[in-house]
């Protein structure tokens, strides 16, 4: 099977690839948003702790 016909999806390329695209976007967001926010929170807390020690 050629790459072209794979991407073409028998004429349903729009429906299939939009489905997979939206799914990837939602799953990646739900995975990485809490990681980024946790890192921010840890930085804030570390800063606060440093200030409190002074």
């Amino acid at each position: 099977m050629s790459l072209e016909s794979f991407l073409h999806m028998g004429g349903y390329a729009f429906y299939v690839w939009t489905s997979y695209g939206i799914t990837s976007a939602v799953l990646l967001w739900n995975l990485f948003a809490p990681i980024v926010r946790r890192k921010q929170l840890l930085r804030q807390l570390a800063l606060k702790q440093k200030r409190a020690q002074r």
Binding site: Y12, S19, T23, V26, R38
Partner: protein
């Protein structure tokens, strides 16, 4: 409550203690990530490349490899949330509250995926993006339940009483789950009946079934990873001034 023998409940409280859980999550996440990729890559390859096109639907049916696993997860996560809600109400277990609230955005994500991919599949096959039939409508209500859990939790200042309110909502909302599951049998719907769960004679070919099951496994493991990441954040938010968080920060510095 003294239904549970003291040593067992002591074990649970130790395992469920926040610093212990936080460290345990860190230990599990790399392994879960490996397992996730081991399921996802052959699942995608099998579904998008190896499996033949459907004799009626052509290649459009390949949406099934995310649509059905996402729909299963949307039900599975809600049931888990109701169980956590029960545990949180009866034993006031903090970790059950944290897991409940951390599951809500992930469940909402899967429900959203099930609805959107269903719509993108329905358009070429049924000729419409949306119908107000029993299956689609009850799944949409599930999305609102997930969003309701998150916003109710966010709206109540005191997190212990917020968790109680959310637990009750999760338990009450669980009546929607059998309605979604049986909707295609109880009502005449545009949505097709179950294809996989008819175990005596599944109406799906093995070359299509295997990638479907691999993707279902991948989504389960994804949920485990994502819920642990979200729970870590939630624990830090709730216990920002606790001693174990201070120790954690010192270890990092």
């Amino acid at each position: 409550m003294s239904i549970i023998p003291a040593p067992i409940s002591r074990f649970f409280h130790r395992t469920a203690s926040s610093p212990h859980f936080y460290a345990l999550a860190d230990k599990f996440i790399p392994w879960l990530t490996v397992l996730f990729l081991l399921l996802l890559i052959p699942g995608l390859y099998g579904g998008l490349v190896m499996a033949p096109a459907d004799y009626q639907q052509g290649d459009s049916y390949r949406i099934i490899y995310i649509h059905v696993p996402a729909a299963w997860m949307s039900l599975f996560i809600y049931v888990l949330m109701a169980v956590m809600g029960g545990i949180a109400l009866i034993w006031h277990m903090k970790l059950a509250e944290v897991m409940l609230i951390s599951s809500a955005p992930i469940g909402a994500g899967f429900t959203f995926i099930a609805l959107v991919t269903g719509s993108l599949w329905g358009k070429p096959m049924w000729g419409t993006w949306w119908v107000w039939d029993a299956r689609l409508t009850s799944e949409l209500i599930l999305l609102f339940l997930y969003l309701g859990v998150s916003s109710l939790y966010g709206a109540i200042e005191d997190k212990r009483s917020a968790a109680r309110a959310v637990s009750i909502l999760a338990l009450v909302g669980v009546v929607n789950i059998p309605i979604i599951h049986y909707s295609v049998e109880w009502w005449n719907t545009l949505h097709q009946g179950p294809t996989v769960s008819k175990m005596d004679k599944p109406s799906i070919h093995i070359s299509m079934l295997i990638p479907l099951l691999l993707m279902a496994g991948a989504f389960k493991v994804y949920y485990a990873i994502a819920v642990l990441q979200t729970a870590k954040l939630e624990l830090l938010k709730r216990e920002a001034s606790a001693q174990w968080v201070k120790n954690l920060l010192e270890k990092k510095a």
